[in-house]
Symmetry: C2
Subunit: 421 residues, 2 copies
């Protein structure tokens, strides 16, 4: 074995021993990543990989301003929100300035799972209901309650949780609001009082479903008419990734009751939050207390402020739009050449490439997506797959991507498709 193979074998066996069976790895040949910068990750041998997968390092891996603010605040103070402090207020004010006027308060958590979990708690407490509507291959997080609203991960639906088909295709989108209404009828017939409709504003695990925009407004109106809330899960689409607004719900022209956010908020640092109508938090606070030890701590807030600063200063929302359009052009050209590219979807730098079976290689859609992903990794490009059949390539590079990097991605993809055409 080479040194690298020995190293990999050693890490794999230590990992199996110490972390155990809940942990899984990406790619047939797992990567041992040791450093990263901007859109690039580097393995132990110095090979570089264009990171077109991870939607967390939104301003690029190890962005110097973010790292500097992290270190500065960590040297000065890291404490919780039961003392007065500037950082959590400044961050909340900056976040709220990007939101519709009705959304007036921020509550900090550490993860998107905690934000969605708290949104569910608030919904139940405020409405008195227990019924939730999600899409049927959704992922919203890993807490006990939210795992019951995340069929993608294999746990059964929780009590009171109802799933509607994802709004796939123009017809699916047109029917989405009706399906939500029918679901509310079912719920009420079963004496379950509606608490909330919880959806991504680009449906991610359902297969990167981005268009047409607008259908969420009607669905939100139905749940509200039935006494429930509309929760926009912005953990994946939020912070400018969609290239037109800071938040995916804006594309749909709808004002949520609760907005949850996470992954990119700290560019990898564990910080997350929800924003909500103040009346909801008032009603919630009358029933119970909520305190999150690390939520809104000095360092997490300084990091999130640094991320917001970089997004603004480097004009990253506009860049996400421009690079997203550029990538989509490239992907559509590939789709003309390779017939089993069924559809290119997405907005900004949140893109999905929906694959059918590859007739030349006699691979099913899922096998083809797996082949492409592993081949790209060998070529130095990281993407993932999603959707119920794992047949949709999921492309989400840092918002700092430039044309040469987008070209590198498209060229590598072309190479992978051509190899088995």
């Amino acid at each position: 074995m080479t040194d690298t193979e020995t190293d990999t074998t050693d890490l794999l066996s230590r990992r199996a021993r110490a972390l155990g069976p809940t942990y899984t790895l990406f790619y047939d040949e797992p990567l041992h990543i040791v450093r990263a910068e901007g859109v690039w990750m580097y393995d132990a041998e110095g090979r570089r990989y264009l990171d077109a997968y991870n939607n967390v390092p939104v301003v690029g891996h190890c962005h110097p301003h973010v790292v500097e603010e992290l270190a500065r605040q960590a040297r000065t103070l890291n404490t919780h929100t039961r003392y007065l402090a500037e950082q959590p207020l400044e961050l909340a004010e900056k976040l709220l300035a990007t939101m519709p006027r009705d959304i007036g308060n921020v509550v900090y958590t550490c993860t998107g799972s905690e934000a969605n979990d708290l949104a569910a708690r608030i919904s139940k407490t405020v409405t008195g209901g227990t019924g939730f509507i999600i899409t049927d291959y959704a992922y919203h997080g890993a807490t006990d309650t939210i795992a019951g609203m995340s069929p993608e991960d294999g746990a059964p639906l929780g009590p009171g949780v109802y799933a509607v088909p994802a709004p796939l295709g123009t017809e699916g989108a047109a029917k989405f609001a009706d399906r939500v209404r029918q679901c509310i009828d079912l719920m009420q017939a079963a004496n379950v009082k509606p608490a909330a409709l919880l959806v991504d504003t680009i449906f991610s695990s359902d297969g990167v479903v981005s268009h047409p925009t607008g259908f969420l407004a009607e669905a939100a109106a139905h749940i509200r008419a039935a006494g429930g809330l509309f929760i926009a899960d912005e953990v994946q689409p939020g912070f400018g990734r969609t290239g037109d607004h800071m938040w995916g719900f804006a594309r749909h022209g709808v004002v949520p009751d609760i907005v949850t956010m996470g992954k990119p908020m700290g560019n990898g640092h564990p910080v997350a939050a929800l924003a909500a109508r103040p009346e909801l938090l008032e009603a919630f606070a009358r029933h119970t207390r909520y305190f999150n030890t690390f939520g809104g701590n000095s360092v997490s807030c300084a990091v999130a402020l640094a991320v917001l600063h970089v997004i603004e200063k480097e004009n990253l929302v506009a860049n996400a739009r421009a690079m997203g359009e550029y990538l989509q052009q490239g992907l559509r050209k590939l789709a003309q050449r390779y017939s089993w590219i069924r559809e290119v979807r997405g907005a900004g730098l949140f893109l999905g490439v929906d694959l059918a079976a590859n007739p030349a290689a006699r691979l099913t859609a899922r096998q083809e997506a797996t082949r492409i992903i592993n081949d790209l990794s060998r070529q130095g490009v990281l993407v993932g797959s999603t959707g119920r059949d794992s047949n949709v390539l999921k492309i989400r590079p840092p918002l700092t991507m430039v044309r040469a990097e987008a070209d590198f991605l498209i060229d590598a993809l072309e190479g992978s498709f051509r190899a088995e055409a």
Copy 2:
């Protein structure tokens, strides 16, 4: 108004506006803390406060080695556990080396709430049960499921959750295992299958209940005989605070099925975990996936490794024991002088001072605790209160505390008691 008063008024009104009603502050005169170092926190006017409250900065605020490791790793790489990496393995191996042999795997989360929530998920999945036993003023976290096991915060008990009286006093401790057994009988009579017994190994919100040791082993045996698991919540007592072992369960001579940890693990950085018997995780992984985006990320692991390094290098477990004994001596002297100090409890630097009503000042026990806490804050010492009646002073300084700092604390306490004696 002085500049400071203007500053405080401004922060308070911004806070009420942006964060809303779920957020509360410590002390009648809230503190505006701007920096911290070791055991000391400093407010905006440069006044310093001995931090004898926060159990998070276990190696002292802004410890230079921890900050340096945080910054070094953040400059290099921050990614998740789906690539191979050294940091999460080294950390898991170091944590497991402090545990009984049966505990063989670590799963990372970001908060103690997430760790307890995952422990509950695992318990339900593995046992097929839904019944949990907790103490009747417990706090285990803020997720939807764990809020139902945290009566301290005011939410109702969750479905299947049963509370037993905390083991207060020698008699309460002696009866604890019997109460757990009776609770299992009740549960089974109601056709609820036991999933787990979840307790702190120093009962914190129940009033800092530390002694006698040993009674947890019998209670654990009862839940296991009924097919349930024993979860040791080490989020507060863990990482050497009790002054004799790394983990509070060791004081009780019991081996848990699952151990949860959090708060001090990253000295303020959001990192947490559970450790468990590998068979449990195998059974869990057969039913569902679990992935925590930020859990076990490169930076969080580097920070937790730095904290473990400092605990060992600075001999902090032994210091916690020595300083804990020194503080207890001082507190017991006060108890001889001030008759309404009912009991001094605790182990290491996790101490509770149980107050009765102050006859001289005609204050109830709760009022007296509130008076002492606020008076101490004005004297530059931070402590909190806990217990069902909020009448137990909660003292938990960084494990780096030295004698002069302990003397400062005792002198301030003496001053507060004497003022209304």
